[in-house]
């Protein structure tokens, strides 16, 4: 089944398409002129459909497009296809080499959600509490998009413009994410999060990517999740660390500056003050782990 006209038997009368190429998917989106909804794993979309919050004439299921699935590791760049699931990414060696991705994939929701939820779905939905986004942000990943007019690549930080708001155009497909390869001898990455209940959404999370040179921090990127409208870089922490020694003490001091770049809100997960404290702790933990994985002393 590639295409099909829907019948009304309890659900809606929307059309459902399962194209096999990016071009065919883009064509369907274009033809529906803003009235089509992309379906990947459906782990976010189905609850919205069930609550009557999705108003679409057509669903374009991208899960049968071979080009969108899987991980490609080249000499200088790594690319992850949009329909790669959390479970697939967790099993791939990339999740050892860029361990922050493995850390994140193993804490998202639960086994069942990880079996179906996709990288593209996480990026396209743009929920700042999603675990994969802070690691991708710290890896300086870019989002790849396609529409009938062509393809483009946008840095993740520019793509995620607000709470559940992205720079994706109505008829665009997220085709994947890509980032520069890290030096395996000198770089380490990690993601740490806290959730009030196991399998619950993160109250806060922090990802760190560190490259060392002779015991000093040559390059560092830190990103926090769930403490602002989008995942945010902790620039103050980064500036404090870069060029200095990669010691426990230096990491502890720098991590205290995490609250400077975040803007958490009071909600049922915790007060803003609690989340500022928590973010600093998670930044410290992720940095210590990243430095250790980079071969440094902590």
């Amino acid at each position: 089944m590639t295409d099909g006209r829907a019948d009304a038997t309890g659900g809606t009368e929307a059309d459902y398409y399962r194209p096999e190429t990016v071009a065919a998917a883009c064509r369907r989106l274009h033809e529906a002129d803003g009235r089509a909804r992309v379906v990947a794993g459906g782990q976010t979309l189905m609850p919205l459909v069930r609550q009557g919050l999705v108003d679409a004439d057509a669903f374009v299921d991208v899960s049968a497009i071979p080009e969108l699935s899987g991980v490609a590791v080249a000499d200088d760049r790594t690319s992850i296809g949009a329909t790669t699931t959390y479970a697939e990414l967790a099993r791939h060696d990339l999740s050892d080499r860029a361990a922050a991705l493995g850390d994140a994939c193993s804490v998202v929701a639960d086994r069942q959600v990880r079996a179906l939820g996709t990288v593209g779905g996480a990026v396209a939905h743009g929920d700042p509490t999603f675990d994969l986004l802070a690691p991708l942000c710290a890896l300086a990943a870019s989002v790849e998009l396609a529409d009938p007019d062509g393809r483009r690549r946008v840095p993740l930080g520019e793509f995620l413009v607000g709470h559940l708001r992205t720079d994706r155009r109505e008829n665009e497909l997220v085709t994947g994410v890509t980032f520069d390869r890290l030096d395996p001898e000198r770089a380490g990455t990690a993601y740490e999060r806290h959730a009030a209940v196991e399998s619950g959404r993160a109250t806060a999370g922090a990802a760190a990517v560190v490259t060392l040179a002779d015991g000093a921090v040559e390059r560092v990127r830190v990103a926090c999740s769930a403490v602002a409208d989008t995942p945010v870089r902790a620039h103050a922490v980064e500036n404090d660390l870069v060029g200095g020694p990669a010691t426990d003490a230096a990491v502890a001091t720098a991590s205290e500056r995490a609250p400077e770049d975040i803007d958490p809100i009071d909600d049922e997960a915790g007060s803003a003050a609690y989340k500022r404290r928590l973010a600093a702790t998670l930044v410290e933990r992720s940095l210590l782990s990243a430095v250790r994985r980079a071969g440094g002393s902590p």
Binding site: A6, D7, G11, Y16, V39, G42, F59, Q112, L116, E198
Partner: protein
């Protein structure tokens, strides 16, 4: 639209709206009543089934997606299989009270034991974290699944 799929070894063809949930499709159109309806939002795991062998929450699967695929419920667990061994262990360890959560737990346990036959208790706890039980307090469920894992581990 029309979807055709294998349900517990039997070929089914059902007329459905594409955006119904697989849980509705199974319970309402296929009489698969072992697939329970809990939260309907992905949080309780009572609707867990195996889709091509992998545990998924049926309330989070769009009905259109099952076309051409295979769905297993606890009704499809055959004698002499790992699934039956898990079911028996639930009985032996009194791992159920009202039983509402049990089909989902059995299928999640089955999927994770397929990947890690000799998983330890912590691994199993995390593998079953998508399933909620309001009666047992989980320990007896873990006892049951761990007992299967220990037997499998010894047999390897």
């Amino acid at each position: 639209m029309r979807v055709s799929f294998d349900l517990d070894g039997e070929e089914r063809t059902v007329e459905t709206a594409p955006d119904r949930s697989l849980r509705e499709l199974l319970r309402e159109d296929c009489d698969a009543l072992s697939v329970k309806a809990g939260c309907d939002g992905g949080r309780c795991g009572a609707c867990t089934v195996l889709l091509d062998g992998e545990a998924v929450k049926a309330c989070l699967v769009m009905a259109a997606k099952v076309d051409g695929r295979s769905v297993t419920t606890v009704e499809g667990v055959a004698d002499g299989t790992l699934g039956r061994e898990v079911q028996d262990a639930f009985e032996d360890h009194s791992a159920l009270q009202c039983g509402y959560c049990t089909p989902g737990f059995v299928l999640s346990a089955l999927a994770s034991l397929d990947d890690h036959p000799d998983a330890d208790r912590e691994t199993l706890r995390s593998a079953l974290s998508g399933n909620v039980c309001r009666c047992t307090g989980y320990e007896k469920i873990l006892d049951a699944v761990e007992a299967v894992a220990e037997r499998r581990g010894e047999a390897e």
